[in-house]
C-alpha cells in the first residue's frame, strides 16, 4: 500500500488545499497519472499518482486544507486489490480523468498516453518510469535491471545519456564511471530523446506555458480550458568547460528551482524589450514627507514609495489596457481586473503578492495594502489567493541601490515596471543646474503585442502622474 501525501510545492509552503479529486475510491490509477489538484500559496497544481494501483481511500475531502506531508489518500498495489474495485472499469465512473498531461521521459509513456482510460483487462506488472525508478535501477530493453552507481546516474542525468544504451563492464554488467565516460567520449551523445510526445507537442500553445514540472493553470485562462501540458524544456547544452579545481555541489531548493524555471520560461516566451525613463520625484517626495508621520501613526506601518508607483502604473494601464493583457495562442486576452503584483525579496528567493483591483482603491487603500502584503510576505504569512492573479508587476531593484534593471516579465503578463534608486541628482531646469530627487524607471514589455511607441507612451503617462502628483494622501 502506498500513502499519497500533500507535496511540498515550494520551500516556504506549509500547507495545501485539495481542490479537486480526479479519481474516486475504487478507481485504478497509473503511476504518474494525475490524481488530484491542489492549491498552495505558490501554485495550483495537479498531483500525479506516486504509484500504480487502486485508489482505496481518500482521507482529505475537496476544499480541505492540510499540512504538507499529510497523508491524503492510499493506493493499493494492483495485485493485492484485484478483487471488487478493479473489476469495475474506471470509465464508467463520474470522474473522467484528463489525459496524462506530463509525459514521463521514457518511451513507454507515449504508448500509455494513447491508451484508453479504461484499465487493461489483466493487471500489468508495475513498470518503473525512467530515472524515477526507485533505487537507481532501470528496466532495460531485455527486462534486466541496469546496475550503475550514484556517480554514473548523476553523469547520465547531466549529459542526458540513456543508460540503456551504455554497455557495462563492471561486476555483473554494472555500468561504471569508466563505461559512461567512454560512452560519452566515443561520440556525440545520443540525440536528446523525444521527451515530448507528438500528441502533446501539438497542444503546446506558446504564451500560456506554465512553469515546467507542475501543472499550473494560467490565471488568464478560463477554467473551462483544458489543461495545457507542461513541456519539458529542451535540454540546454551548457558549454562543458572542464573545471578541475575543488567544487561544492548544492542542490537547488524547490523555490529556487521554480524561480529558475519560470525565468527561463519567460525569456523564451516573450520578446523582451526594456525602455528606461528618468522621472523627477520632487512632488512625490514632498507628498510623502508631509504624510509619512501621520500615515505611520494611523497604520503602524511606514509609508513607502511603492504605492506611488502602483498608483501611477494603474493610471497608465487605464489609458493603455494592453499592459494588462496576456497572450494566448493567436489571441490577446484583456483582463478586466487590474491586479498589481509587487516583487518582494526574501532571504531564499522572492515572492510576488498582488494588490487586487488596484484601480478600485484610493491611494490610502493601495498604501495600506502594499504595506500589509510586504510585511506578511517577509514573515511568510501570505494567503494563497494573495499571490495569485497578478496582471502587471512592479519590482524595485532600487532598494539595493541599482540605477535601473531590465526585469524579466512575470508570465503570463506582458510588462513589468522596475524602479531604480531614488536619489538627488544634478539636472537642468530652466537652463540652470538644479538638485532634484530623481529615479530611473525601466519598463520591460513583450514586443509580441506591445510596440516601442506604445511602451513609451505608457511611460510618459507614468512619468506625468509622478511628476505632477496632486492627490492628498490622507
Amino acid at each position: 500500500m502506498t500513502n499519497v501525501i500533500m507535496p511540498q510545492m515550494g520551500e516556504s509552503i506549509a500547507e495545501g488545499t485539495v481542490t479537486k479529486w480526479l479519481k474516486k475510491v475504487g478507481d485504478k490509477v497509473e503511476r504518474d497519472e494525475p490524481l488530484f489538484e491542489i492549491s498552495t500559496d505558490k501554485v495550483d497544481a495537479e498531483i500525479p499518482s506516486p504509484s500504480a494501483g487502486v485508489l482505496t481511500k481518500i482521507l482529505v475531502a475537496e476544499n480541505q486544507t492540510v499540512a504538507v506531508n499529510a497523508i491524503v489518500a492510499e493506493i493499493d498495489a494492483e495485485g493485492s486489490a484485484a478483487s471488487a474495485p478493479s473489476s469495475q472499469p474506471a470509465a464508467s465512473g463520474g470522474a473522467i480523468p484528463t489525459p496524462p498531461p506530463v509525459p514521463a521521459p521514457d518511451g513507454d509513456s507515449r504508448a500509455r498516453a494513447f491508451e484508453p482510460v479504461a484499465p487493461p483487462p489483466a493487471p500489468a506488472p508495475p513498470q518503473a518510469a525512467g530515472m524515477n525508478g526507485g533505487l537507481g535501477t532501470e528496466i532495460g530493453g531485455n527486462g534486466h535491471k541496469i546496475r550503475s552507481s550514484p556517480l554514473v546516474r548523476r553523469i547520465a542525468k547531466e549529459k542526458n545519456v540513456d543508460l540503456r544504451s551504455v554497455k557495462g563492464t563492471g561486476l555483473g554488467g554494472r555500468i561504471s564511471k569508466r563505461d559512461i565516460l567512454a560512452y560519452i567520449a566515443a561520440g556525440p551523445s545520443a540525440p536528446p530523446s523525444a521527451r515530448i510526445s507528438p500528441a502533446s507537442a501539438a497542444q503546446i500553445t506558446p504564451g500560456a506555458m506554465p512553469p515546467a514540472g507542475t501543472e499550473q493553470r494560467a490565471s488568464a485562462s478560463p477554467s473551462s480550458m483544458p489543461a495545457v501540458p507542461a513541456p519539458e524544456p529542451s535540454p540546454m547544452q551548457a558549454p562543458s568547460v572542464a573545471f578541475t579545481g575543488a567544487t561544492q555541489v548544492v542542490p537547488m531548493t524547490p523555490m529556487r528551482k521554480q524561480i529558475a524555471e519560470h525565468m527561463i520560461l519567460s525569456r523564451r516566451t516573450s520578446a523582451h524589450v526594456t525602455t528606461v525613463f528618468e522621472v523627477e520625484m520632487t512632488r512625490v517626495f514632498e507628498t510623502r514627507a508631509q504624510n509619512a508621520a501621520e500615515f505611520e501613526r494611523r497604520n503602524g506601518q511606514k509609508l513607502t514609495f511603492t504605492p506611488f508607483f502602483v498608483r501611477a502604473a494603474v493610471e497608465a494601464i487605464k489609458q493603455y489596457p494592453i499592459f494588462n493583457a496576456s497572450v494566448d495562442g493567436d489571441n490577446v486576452i484583456y483582463k478586466r481586473d487590474l491586479n498589481i503584483g509587487i516583487a518582494v525579496a526574501l532571504e531564499t528567493g522572492l515572492i510576488v503578492p498582488v494588490v487586487k483591483r488596484a484601480d478600485e482603491k484610493n491611494f490610502l487603500g493601495i498604501a495600506r495594502t502594499v504595506a500589509d502584503l510586504a510585511e506578511r510576505a517577509r514573515t511568510k504569512r501570505l494567503n494563497f489567493d494573495e499571490v495569485q492573479g497578478g496582471t502587471f508587476t512592479i519590482t524595485n531593484p532600487g532598494v539595493f541601490g541599482s540605477l535601473f534593471g531590465t526585469p524579466i516579465i512575470n508570465q503570463p503578463q506582458v510588462a513589468i515596471l522596475g524602479v531604480g534608486v531614488i536619489e538627488k541628482r544634478a539636472v537642468v531646469r530652466n537652463d540652470a543646474i538644479a538638485i532634484r530627487p530623481m529615479a530611473y524607471l525601466a519598463l520591460s514589455f513583450d514586443h509580441r503585442v506591445i510596440d516601442g511607441a506604445m511602451a513609451d507612451q505608457f511611460m510618459v503617462k507614468v512619468k506625468t502622474v509622478l511628476e505632477n502628483w496632486s492627490e492628498a494622501v490622507l
Binding site: S149, P150, L151, G170, S176, V249
Partner: protein
C-alpha cells in the same frame, strides 16, 4: 640534511621545544634516569635537569592529574605513557578534567600526552592496541597520529604549542624503521591538515599512522596492474581534514578506508558516514573498509599477522573495488 628516525625526530622536536620554552617539562614513568622505555627521552635529564624531566610512580591517573594541574598554573607539560595501552588508568583525568576544563571554566589546558601505540612487534594484547578512538570520541581533545618522521617532529612541536590537550600517538613499529631527512629550521606541521602521500586517480585510500606505509606498498603493487591508488595520510583524527577526504573521493570516485584499529567504531565508520552524506553522488562503488577484526590484538606472531591489515589485504580489496 640529517636523516633521523621517527623516534629521533620526536625526540628532537621535544628537545627544541624545551629549549625554546622554559614552561615545557616532561613527566612520566622511567623517562629520566632510564631515558624512557623506547629511549625517546634519552639525554633529556642530563640536559634539562630533574625539575624538567620528572620520573613518577606507576600511576597514570596521578601523572595526568599532576600535568593538568601544572597546565592550569601556566606550564606546558608533556606526559609520556610508557605504552598507550596504559592510558586507560588516566582516563578520568583526561576525558573529565583535561577535555572539559576549558569548556566548563575557561582556562586552557596545554598538555600533550604522548606514547607508543600499535601492533606488529608481538607485544600481545596489553602492548599493541590502537585505542585512538576512545579520545576521538571526546570533544575537547585533539588526537594526532603521524606517519612520517618529518611529520612526527612537526606535529609534536605543534602539539606542545597548542593550547588544547593533545593525545599524540607514536606508532612503535615506525620508531626505528622510518627515516626522513629533517630540515634544520624550526618548522611545525599544522594539526588538522591531511597530506596526499601519493597522488592517484582510480581509488582513494584514506588512512593514518603506520597504515600509510601499508597503503603505499599496496599502491606500488597495484600500479603494475594498471590501477592507480591515491593515498591520503590524515595526520590528525581530531580535528581531521574533511575537505581533503572529500576532494580525494570526488577525484577517484571509489574509496578504501584503512586503519589498524579494530572495525566497529573505528575511524573508517565515521569517514564512511561523512562520505555517504556529502559525496554520495560522486561514488562509483561501495565504500570499502580494511581494518583489523574485532578482537584483542593476539600475541602469537602468526595470529597477529592474520589480525593486522597488510599490503596484500589492501591490494586484494583494491582489485575487487577496481573491478566493481
Amino acid at each position: 640534511m640529517p636523516v633521523l628516525t621517527h623516534l629521533e625526530a620526536i625526540r628532537q622536536g621535544i628537545w627544541e621545544e624545551m629549549e625554546r620554552d622554559p614552561s615545557v617539562f616532561l613527566i612520566g614513568e622511567d623517562i629520566g634516569v632510564y631515558g624512557g622505555a623506547f629511549k625517546v627521552t634519552q639525554g633529556m635529564l642530563e640536559k634539562f635537569g630533574a625539575d624538567r624531566v620528572i620520573d613518577t610512580p606507576i600511576s597514570e591517573s596521578a601523572i595526568v592529574g599532576a600535568a593538568v594541574g601544572a597546565a592550569l598554573m601556566g606550564m606546558r607539560p608533556v606526559v609520556e605513557m610508557q605504552f598507550m595501552d596504559f592510558i586507560a588508568c588516566g582516563f578520568d583525568q583526561i576525558v573529565n578534567m583535561a577535555a572539559k576544563i576549558h569548556y566548563r571554566w575557561g582556562p586552557a589546558v596545554p598538555i600533550v600526552i604522548r606514547g607508543p601505540s600499535g601492533a606488529g612487534v608481538h607485544g600481545g594484547p596489553y602492548h599493541s592496541q590502537s585505542n585512538e578512538m576512545w579520545f576521538v570520541h571526546t570533544p575537547g581533545l585533539k588526537v594526532v597520529v603521524p606517519a612520517t618522521a618529518y611529520d612526527a617532529k612537526g606535529l609534536i612541536k605543534a602539539s606542545i604549542r597548542d593550547n588544547n590537550p593533545v593525545i599524540f600517538y607514536e606508532h612503535k613499529f615506525l620508531y626505528r624503521r622510518i627515516k626522513d631527512e629533517i630540515p634544520a629550521d624550526d618548522y611545525v606541521v599544522p594539526i588538522g591538515k591531511a597530506r596526499v602521500a601519493r597522488s592517484g586517480t582510480d581509488i582513494s585510500v584514506i588512512t593514518y599512522g603506520a597504515m600509510v606505509w601499508t597503503a603505499l606498498e599496496a599502491a606500488e603493487e597495484l600500479e603494475k596492474e594498471g590501477v592507480s591508488l591515491e593515498v591520503i595520510d590524515l595526520r590528525s583524527l581530531l580535528p581531521y581534514d574533511e575537505e581533503a577526504v572529500l576532494e580525494s573521493v570526488r577525484k577517484c570516485s571509489k574509496v578504501i578506508l584503512l586503519h589498524e584499529d579494530t572495525r566497529i567504531g573505528g575511524f573508517a565508520g565515521e569517514l564512511a558516514a561523512v562520505i555517504a552524506e556529502k559525496a554520495f553522488e560522486d561514488l562509483d562503488g561501495p565504500i570499502v573498509r580494511v581494518t583489523s577484526p574485532d578482537t584483542p590484538v593476539p600475541f602469537s606472531p602468526p595470529l597477529e599477522e592474520y589480525f593486522l591489515p597488510n599490503a596484500k589485504k589492501v591490494a586484494e580489496a583494491a582489485r575487487r573495488l577496481a573491478a566493481y
